[in-house]
Structures are given as C-alpha cells and as structure tokens.
C-alpha cells in the first residue's frame, strides 16, 4: 500500500485499525468493523493494518496495544482509540473527532 498517497493524501477520512491475526480482541472487533464499513464506508474509508506485516508503521505511530485505531484526515493522524468496546463507541468517537455521520 502506498501510505502517502492512499492515506495521507486521501480526500476521504481514513480510519486505520492496527490488528494482528493472533489478537483475540481484534477478532472480536472484526465483525463490528465490517458492519461499520457497510454503514459509513462512503464517508470514512476503513483500512486494516496487520502490525506483523507493517512493523515500520506500527512503530512510527507508536501503536503498542491492539486493536488500536487512528483517524487520518488531511495527512494528520488522531489520538489512538484503543480497544473500543462496541461499534457504537467507534461511531461516537468518530463524531467526537468531527466526522459528520448523520
């Protein structure tokens, strides 16, 4: 993936989830993220990054607990959302970050 072009220069906000296949909480979150993508995918692009395959990005964005999410807008990453307990809490957080979802 061309991180610069696809994420940092994206016109649509991008929500990145850092995950790994061995992470239990990531698996629990996966169906909620899939549902969220169906609902808001046209407003926010959702990208999943496997920390094992992207150690550089994982270090660069100081991800040391997964699942963690970062919202990228206009080339800038937000604070991390760590292990959200529900789909609704991700939506609420996105709204807090200023994403218009309604």
């Amino acid at each position: 993936m061309d991180f610069q072009k696809e994420i940092l220069e994206s016109r649509r906000p991008v929500l990145i989830e850092f995950w790994a296949p061995w992470c239990g909480y990531c698996r629990r979150l996966a169906p909620a993220l899939d549902r969220l993508e169906k609902e808001i995918g046209d407003v926010v692009r959702i990208v999943r990054i496997n920390v094992d395959k992207e150690p550089e990005l994982t270090r660069q964005y100081a991800v040391n607990v997964i699942p963690s999410m970062i919202l990228f807008r206009n080339g800038k990453g937000s604070e991390q959302l760590v292990n959200p307990p529900s789909q609704a809490s991700i939506t609420a957080w996105l709204k807090e970050q200023g994403v218009a979802l309604d």
């Binding site: 992470c23 239990g24 909480y25 698996r27 629990r28 991800v63 040391n64 789909q87 809490s89 939506t91």
Partner: protein
C-alpha cells in the same frame, strides 16, 4: 445510515451474546418463544478472545473461543432467535413489560435475561487511562507480542496474573510479578512452572503511580509492609487483577453484591419479576463457560414458568 429501528415485542430479550446469553436464547427459542439477543460487539463475549479453550466438554483437541461463540449464535438462530448488534444505553426492568434502550432503538420484552458478563478490572490510578495503550495493557495474550524482548510488569496474584506472567516470560527480556500479598492465589498448575521461569516476584507491593510522558516508562511501587516507595523502569504493565461485572446500567433497579455482581441464586432469578441473571454477571462460586451455559438453560426453565 445509523438509524433507529422499530422492533416487535419479544417474549425474551437477552442482553449479552456470550455463552450464558446464547444458551438461554437457544433454550427459549426452542421452546417456541420469540427471542432477541442484544450484543454490542461479536458473539462469544470474553470467551471470544481466547484462542484455545480446553475446559469446555466435547472438544477433544480444544476449541477456538471465537468460533465457539459463532456456533452458539448459529445454534440459537437455527430455532428462530434473532441477534441485534447494538449497545444498551438504558433499561426499565421493573414493570411487566420491560423496555431496553439501545443504539439501534427501543426493545420491549416480557422477560429479560441479563448476561452482560464482566470486563477487566482497572488499577484505578490517575494516569492509567492516559497510558492505556501506551504501555498499560489488560490482555497479555493479545498484546504480549508487542513487548518482545522488553521489560514488563504483571500486576495481580490470581490465575490470570500467573498465566500472563508465564506467557510473557517466554517473550520478554524481564518480567516482574507485583502482588500485594506474600503468596499467589493462583492454581498449583501454574506455580511450579513460574518458580522455574525468569519471573521475578515483588511481594507485598502495590503500584501507586504510572509515569511516562507519551509512553509508560516507569512504575512506582510501594512496599506495603513499610510504606517505602521505589520506581522500576518498564516498557509495559499488564493489569491482571480480576474482572468487574458489567452491571452499571442496572445498579439502581436491581440488587447487586458488594463487588457489583447481580444477586441471584441457582435459579438465576433476580429480585425483579421476569428478570434473570446468567453467567459471569451473577453471584456464583465458579465462573466458567460451562457454568454460564448451564445458567442459560436454567433461566429458560424459570422463564417458561414465568411466561406461562
């Protein structure tokens, strides 16, 4: 897009899609009742985060917790139970028709099964929230690999602290186990391997502060016997001091014990008519998948009696 929906009135609403909730749903649906399960994330509950479960009977090679959760969901849905993925925001449980407010709309039901389970307990320190995900973690099996070759602290003295310390000792350079007493409560299965491992025990100690700017760098420990404090450098700190029942939403309406568990005996009946508590959220001596599932079946028996 993220809209509220209209729902029919159900015979049974189940809050929480773990083993207790889906077993109640299976039994009630199989008895011909209309059943709705409300789940905020994914079926399986805490069980879904465990990769290998060896103590649920019927699986000679163990079973993946996430897959077992999905199977329990499908098993209940085969008899007509429905699942709505939504977060519960409020509930009125005292009247004959119970009302549950969710992010997906209001649900009405003649009976309710509370199966909300438990979540990891926090230390309750001021910088814990800020450093959560920045060194402070609650699941060694989930996040341990991110601390490969580093120094970590495990806090706690029970089975989960012991298994976390053992697991991390295989990955990390150095593991400290901090416990407020002078011995572990953990099962014997873990004690011998722990003694042989590279885990260093810090007894009679408690964490009093978490330090670090962008990232956890040090933990402050107090020796409980003499009040002396010192600091230990660490990259990660895993909190394994037990679980806290997810009952805040119901606290005003239903009696809870001093730890927040819903008071209900083996019948799963709570103090409220038509409201049942199953699985980890109920006061009980042993919290396991198989006892949660048993609760679900028992609840269905008394729900049938109640709805008759």
């Amino acid at each position: 897009m993220i809209g509220k929906q209209e729902y029919q009135e159900y015979d049974v609403a189940v809050i929480g899609g773990g083993p207790g909730g889906y077993t109640a749903a299976l039994y009630c649906a199989r008895s011909g009742y209309s059943v709705l399960v409300l789940e905020k994330l994914a079926p399986g509950g805490q069980m879904a985060t465990t990769a290998l479960i060896d103590n649920y009977p019927g699986f000679e090679n163990g079973v993946d917790g996430f897959e077992l959760g999905e199977k329990m969901q499908k098993g209940a849905e085969r008899f007509g139970a429905e699942t709505v993925f939504a977060e519960v925001q409020g509930a009125e449980l005292t009247a004959p028709i119970k009302r549950i407010q969710t992010t997906s709309g209001e649900i009405a039901a003649r009976s309710v099964v509370l199966a909300t389970g438990a979540v990891p307990r926090k230390l309750g320190l001021s910088d814990e929230e800020r450093l959560s995900g920045r060194g402070v973690a609650y699941c060694a099996a989930c996040d341990g690999m991110l601390y490969k070759g580093k120094t970590v602290i495990v806090v706690g003295g029970g089975n989960s602290a012991a298994t976390d310390a053992l697991y991390l000792s295989k990955i990390c350079k150095k593991v400290y186990l901090v416990h407020r007493r002078d011995s572990l409560r953990a099962s014997r299965v873990y004690l011998n391997p722990l003694k042989k491992s590279n885990v260093e025990f810090l007894w009679n100690s408690r964490i009093t502060a978490l330090l670090g700017d962008q990232q956890l760098a040090e933990a402050e420990l107090e020796d409980i016997s003499n009040g002396r404090k010192r600091r230990i450098s660490c990259d990660g700190l895993f909190v394994a001091i037990g679980r806290k029942p997810d009952t805040e939403l119901f606290s005003g309406q239903i009696p809870l014990d001093e730890y927040g568990y819903i008071v209900a005996d083996e019948t799963t009946k709570t103090a409220l008519e038509g409201v049942f508590a199953v699985g980890d959220v109920r006061t009980k001596p042993l919290r396991q998948i198989v006892t949660a599932a048993a609760d679900g079946a028992t609840a269905s028996h008394y729900i049938e009696e109640y709805l008759a």
